[in-house]
Amino acid sequence: MMEEQTLKVQKIKNGIVIDHIPCGMALKVLKILNINGDIGSTVSLVMHVKSRMGCKDVVKIEDRFLEEREIDKIALIAPTATVNVIENYKVVSKHKVELPDEIVGIVRCMNPRCITNQREPVVPEFKVVSKNPVIIKCKYCEREMGVEDIIENIL
């Protein structure tokens, strides 16, 4: 069943498959990875795939690999996702993204009056106060941000 669903999209030779994205979040994953029309390689996206967990989205990107920082960004908006690295049609590594307890330097605070949004030599830092749904709290001004706010303020 799973194989059949996944095969709705062609296998890729080299690149990444981001699987188990919460239903409906695939476009947002592409957005935070800064993948838009001019990427130059094939991107395939399946939304609302039936799975054991109910429903998921899958994204496949050819000839693209992810940095640690990008994986952390995915964890923020799709904490259930797994990232599979494909080489020569084979999965060479597979790991679940993990939402850390602290988020450093990948999101800016949404509060325009937060000191981190002024010209100060600090990196924005957040505490994860809830993992499901994701809610993070600024270490400086204590403002809380949900997924939509995070997407708008990704660095």
Partner: protein, 304 residues
Amino acid sequence: MFKGRDIVSIKELSKEEMEIIFEVAREMLPIAKGERKSDLLDGKILATLFFEPSTRTRLSFESAMHRLGGSVIGFSNPSATSISKGETLADTVRVMDSYSDVIVIRHPYEGSARLAAEFAKNPVINAGDGAGQHPTQTLLDLFTIHQEFGEIEGLNVALIGDLKYGRTVHSLAYALSHLGANIYLVSPELLRMPSHIIRELREKPMETDKIEEVIGDVDVLYVTRIQKERFPDPTEYKKVAGSYRITPELLKKAKDRAIVMHPLPRVDEIEPDVDYTEHARYFQQAFNGVPVRMALLALVLGVV
């Protein structure tokens, strides 16, 4: 427990720690009143970094430091300093830190006290950061209630007026609720306490827009100013502000021992005649800023 510690947010202080602060503040009372001399902080320097105007907070910190034999440096008008040349807060703090033993900061941006604490080696005390925290105000409010009733747990406390924008009521509500008080929120619909503040309280408070509904039940009436600027229509402001005014007539319905508090400055939310009733505590409350700040300075500098 306190030596070298930053006081940035009330949320970082446990009940036991607050009780220690109150105990030390009580010991400070005769010195705060000038009845006894002290050289507890002789040779120590407090730097006051006030990036925003303030009278009570700044002067009570200065009074506290002088009463304990220490000295004060600082500014209350940043336009006359290198900040107007574009210096970062981080740099200002590092320099002032090297000139002093403890820093008190008020700044218009939220989170600025946390940032200052990161860059300073010596303790930093937050005297208000934008719409954020103002822990020493909360401590002096709690101390005033504690002095009056001997405890906070089980008391009925009404927070009245502008509960939306008033930062003092946000941290006070949090602290009171975690110390076991029952909270009543009394405000016009437009100025209700934000839901994210209510979410952090231990129990859901009672909310109403009518003072009369709670006046007979509460031990403390904590009144705040309703600002004209919050209302698009000035006639609406007059109507609303009038219905939250504390008068001697209204207080006839209150418990005998009920007290009226206000962070000051007041405009006309408490009638001047209330000053002469048994209920008025706002000037006592303002004075309590001195012993509480003395206690904090002495504790973070490790001399008590």
